[in-house]
Each structure stands twice: as C-alpha cells, then as structure tokens.
C-alpha cells in the first residue's frame, strides 16, 4: 500500500472516531452540535501540551485527554442544553468560535503558530508511524464503534432514544432530559477528544484553524451522509466525504466544486443518510431480502 493511501486511511480513521462521537450527541440523543470540532481541538491541544510541555507519554496522557474533553463538554453543555432547540445550533457555533479564539489568542496554546514538534506515539519503545500508526487508529476506531454499540444496548442509550423522539413523554417515564442529554454530550466530546489526541500525534503540528467551524460542518456532514443514529453511518460518511476529494484530485481546480455539489445532492436526496431508514443502502437490502421470500 502506498504511503499516500495509508495517509488518507489514517486520517479517515481519526475523523471517523470524532464523527462517532458526534453521532452520539446528534444521532442517538437528537441534539444539535455545530461546534464539535472545538472538542476535537481540545483533545488535540491537551495531548499536544502533555506531550511537549509535560513530556508525558501518550498512554499516560490519554486518560487525562478523555477526562478533560469530557469535562469541558460538561461545563459547556450544561448551559447550552437548557436553551431552546433553535438556540442550541447557534450556541454550539459560538462555542466553536470561542474555543478557536482561545487557541489563537492565548499564548499558552501557541497562538497563531500553534503547537509543533509533537512526538510520535511509542508502543513498547518503538515509535509508531505509517502502517503501524494506521493500525493503532483503526484499533481505537474499533473501540469507539464498540462503545457506541454498547451505548445503544444499555439503558442510557434507550433513554437517549426516547428523549430524541419525544422529550416530554420521556420525562414522564422518569428520564431526566438534562441528565441524559449531558451524558450523551459528554460521551461525544470525550470521543472527539480521543480523535484529537491521535490527530495531534499524527500531524505532529496543530494550529487553531484545524478545528474551525468549517471542520464542524464537515463532521456533521459525515454523520448525516452516512446515516445519523446508525452504528456504521459515521464511519461510512467519513469514508465517503474524505475519499471523494481525493478521488476527484484529477479534476484539479474543479475538485471542491464537485465535492460540495455532491454533498448538496446527497443531502437533498438522501437526507436520512445512506444507511438511514429510507437510505439507498437499506432499501437495496430490503428489496433483495423481499425477493428471497416466496
């Protein structure tokens, strides 16, 4: 496999982890988050700072990254999830801008120059790069998907689904809306933080613009295109939206136009996502299985 393909595949794995986190918030709990990249960034900067300033190994820093990303999610989520639905979209956009501004203007975070010289992750003393790092990311992606799968199987997940469908009725069943929305939010932001840590050690140099509002929109698109609320939707969506610009590289100048037009068409004709209920893939599978019956 060429180094180029490995690079793309690694990035896909990393973004897919972050997208899975967003799927918990948006797909499972039915909340809006247009600022998810902020938590991707918080994870990245936390990992970067631990690695460069504290010279802590990735493996020791990881729990801290998860806790900090989750904690910031808790602090920011608490006031946000209490506001009306309309406002939540704009609040999360605001969160993205504030966090990005903090990274950009507070010298501790490296300012406009960002943080560089982030060391590679080492496993048993060996630095991971290329295909090795790709397998590490795939491993973490599998863990993330497994966590999402467990989430859908446990009572917390069922509570979130109920909340997503009918908040008032869910409350009537003893489900505290604030508590479970926050739970989903924190789970999502912690997962985004994990992705961020991997990103930092992969790119070895990060700056505030890597986590700006357009990235949040890209992440949301990945979840929506794949199928919001499904298990593999975020992964599929990430795959499609990351692979497309690369596939369209021969188009050179027309690349971005093609990608955005394709996104537009996908959202217009498959708003439930490819793996969603009315999605392309589900309906093909349904047709095939119906044909099998007498």
């Amino acid at each position: 496999m060429s180094a180029y393909v490995i690079t793309i595949a690694t990035l896909i794995a990393i973004y897919a982890i972050v997208a899975c986190g967003l799927n918990i918030i948006v797909g499972y709990a039915g909340q809006i988050s247009l600022g998810h990249a902020a938590f991707f960034g918080i994870g990245a900067y936390t990992a970067a700072l631990f690695a460069t300033k504290a010279e802590l190994s990735f493996w020791y820093a990881l729990p801290c990254v998860l806790i900090i990303s989750g904690l910031v999610g808790l602090l920011l989520g608490l006031p946000s999830l209490r506001v009306r639905h309309d406002f939540l979209a704009i609040t999360t956009i605001g969160i993205n801008f504030i966090v990005e501004a903090m990274f950009l203007y507070i010298p501790f975070f490296g300012g406009a120059l960002g943080i560089g010289g982030i060391p590679r992750i080492t496993l048993f003393g060996l630095p991971l790069k290329g295909i090795g790092f790709f397998w590490l990311c795939t491993g973490f992606l599998s863990l993330s998907v497994a966590a999402c799968w467990w989430f859908t199987r446990c009572w917390a997940g069922l509570a979130c689904f109920a909340l997503r469908e009918e908040e008032e009725a869910a409350a009537g069943l003893g489900i505290s809306p604030v508590r479970f929305k926050l739970l989903a939010f924190v789970a999502g932001t912690a997962m985004a933080g994990l992705g961020g840590a991997l990103y930092a050690h992969y790119m070895r140099f990060i700056s505030a613009t890597d986590f700006s509002f357009p990235v949040s929109i890209t992440l949301l698109s990945m979840v929506v295109v794949g199928g919001m609320g499904t298990l593999w939707g975020p992964v599929l969506g990430t795959l499609i939206l990351s692979a497309l610009p690369e596939l369209f590289r021969p188009l050179v100048d027309y690349r971005i136009l093609f990608t955005t037009t394709l996104l537009l068409l996908m959202i217009r004709f498959q708003p439930g996502g490819l793996l969603g209920e009315t999605g392309f893939i589900r309906s093909r599978v349904a047709v095939r299985s119906r044909r099998g019956r007498p």
Binding site: I32, L34, V83, D86, I90, L257, L263, I267, R268
Partner: protein, 287 residues
C-alpha cells in the same frame, strides 16, 4: 471631536451595510425557521453581477436592477431545490444543504471570475453633504440613502399591504395561515425574492464602498449575520436591523476609534455569547 463624528458616521454606514446583508437572513428565518447561510453566497453573486453588468452597460442603475433580478432568481432556486423538499426533516438537514450551496456558489464564483480581488470603480450618484467641518462623502450618503429606502419599502410592504399581512401571518403560524387561505408557498417565495434582491444591493454597495469584489467576500458576513440575528432576537426583523446598526457602530468606535485590542470580527461573537448568557431572546425577540 470631529474625528469622533467621522467615526460615528462610518460606524453608522457600517451598521447600515450589515443591516442590508442581514435583512434577507432575518426574513427567511422569520418565515421558515431555517438558517439560510447560503444568503451570503447570494450577496457575493450580487456583487459580481453588479460589477459585470456595470462593466457591460456603464450604468449603475441597470447593473443594480439586473443584479437584483438575478439574485432573486437564485434565492428562489435555492428555496425550491434545497429548502422546500427538506422542510420536514430536522433543521440541521437544510442547514447542511445551505452550507453546501454556499460553498459551491463561492467555488463557482472563484472558477468563473477568478480568485483575485477585483475593483468596483463606480461613482455612486449621490452628493457629498457638508455639515460644517464634517463632510459626508457620497459613498456614505449613498449607503444611508439606499438603506433608508430599503427599510422604508420593507416597512411599507409588511405593514401596509396585504402581502405584508400574509407574510406576517405565515411567519407566525404557517398551518393556520394556510387554513385561512393564504398561499404560504407564494409568501415564502416572495420572502426569498425580497431578501435576495436586498442582498444584491448590499453586495454592490459593499463592492463599491471597499472597492473590492472577491469570491470569499461572503464568508465573514455568513457568520456575522448569524450572530447579528441572535443578538437582535431570532425571528425579529427590526431587532436584526437594530443589532446590525449597533454592531457597525461598536466595531468602528470601539476598535477603530478607541483602539481596543480585540480582533474586529470577534466583537459580533462576543455580543452573541453575551446575549445567549444573559438574555437569550435577544434585543427584540420573544421568549
């Protein structure tokens, strides 16, 4: 003192421009509860269309009219193709569609017109006004004049005509409006026509004011106008206008005049966050 007055006038012009750009967004949100981010792309197209038509005809008036027609058509096309079919889905679905449209249109502008900054060397046919030691340049007069005219027309339409009544009814309760015989879809279309035409005017004014037209000129307005409608109160058009004026003046006076060391564009978001924390319904919004 006289520098202060100059800055005040600049700030007012800035605010007026913000108001023009935000009006379309506020109108669409009021009636569809959708964040029409692609509005910023319509504004960019308006600037380019105005530039080219002016270059072709030499008449600013023709350019403006042509641009308004083109943008109105574009706005309606976006509504028909993207928003209308997606209305029954959760709001982030049309939002993503809107953002995709905006990015696609920006790219089209870049591919067709080129990525470099073009100049808009038009002379606005408005007089310089001399008020004692202060001169209000023709550009400023043009901005004030056009904004005042647009606001007046909008006020007149919404409060004095049947169409306006239908628009207000539809934005308060669309199923009910349908039930009393108002053709809601027509009202929606008209809203987009009006909003997009205003965006065209805004684009041309900005192009001339700064003498710059470039493909990504809509990016910052896209975010800023979101912040403005939150500060003004989601769903309130007068609120958006007032918030826009205040923002324009605040940006110019606080940062240009008082030289507070904050990035200029951050002010809108700081105001937005402030609003969300203390008075979520904004200046004139309802709870």
């Amino acid at each position: 003192m006289h520098l202060f007055i100059e800055q005040l006038l600049n700030g007012l012009a800035m605010g007026a421009i913000y108001a023009l750009v935000t009006l379309g967004l506020a109108l669409v949100y009021g009636i569809l509860r959708i964040l029409h981010v692609a509005h910023a792309a319509v504004y960019t197209v308006g600037a380019y269309a105005g530039l080219y038509l002016f270059g072709a005809t030499g008449s600013l008036l023709l350019a403006a009219l042509g641009s308004m027609v083109l943008c109105a058509a574009l706005g309606v096309a976006i509504e028909r193709f993207v928003y209308f079919p997606l209305l029954k889905y959760p709001p982030y679905v049309p939002l993503i569609g809107s953002i995709a449209v905006m990015l696609a249109i920006e790219e089209l502008c870049r591919l067709i017109a080129g990525p470099y900054i073009q100049t808009f060397p038009a002379r606005l046919p408005f007089p310089d006004i001399h008020l004692g030691p202060v001169t209000v340049s023709s550009t400023l007069t043009a901005v004030y004049g056009v904004t005042a005219a647009v606001l007046f027309l909008l006020w007149y339409i919404t409060s004095r005509t049947e169409l306006g009544l239908a628009m207000r009814a539809a934005s308060q309760d669309m199923p009910m409006a349908d039930a009393v015989g108002i053709n809601s879809h027509f009202v929606i279309t008209v809203t987009f026509i009006i909003g997009s035409a205003i965006a065209a005017v805004a684009g041309i004014l900005v192009g001339i004011y700064y003498n710059q037209v470039y493909p990504t000129m809509g990016t910052v307005p896209a975010y800023k106008t979101l912040a403005i409608i939150v500060v003004g109160g989601l769903g309130s058009v007068p609120g958006a206008v007032i918030a826009a004026l205040l923002l324009g003046m605040a940006e110019t006076l606080l940062i240009g005049y008082a030289q507070i060391p904050l990035p200029r564009d951050a002010l809108a978001f700081i105001a937005m966050i402030g609003v969300l924390m203390w008075r979520a319904e904004g200046l004139l919004g309802s709870k």
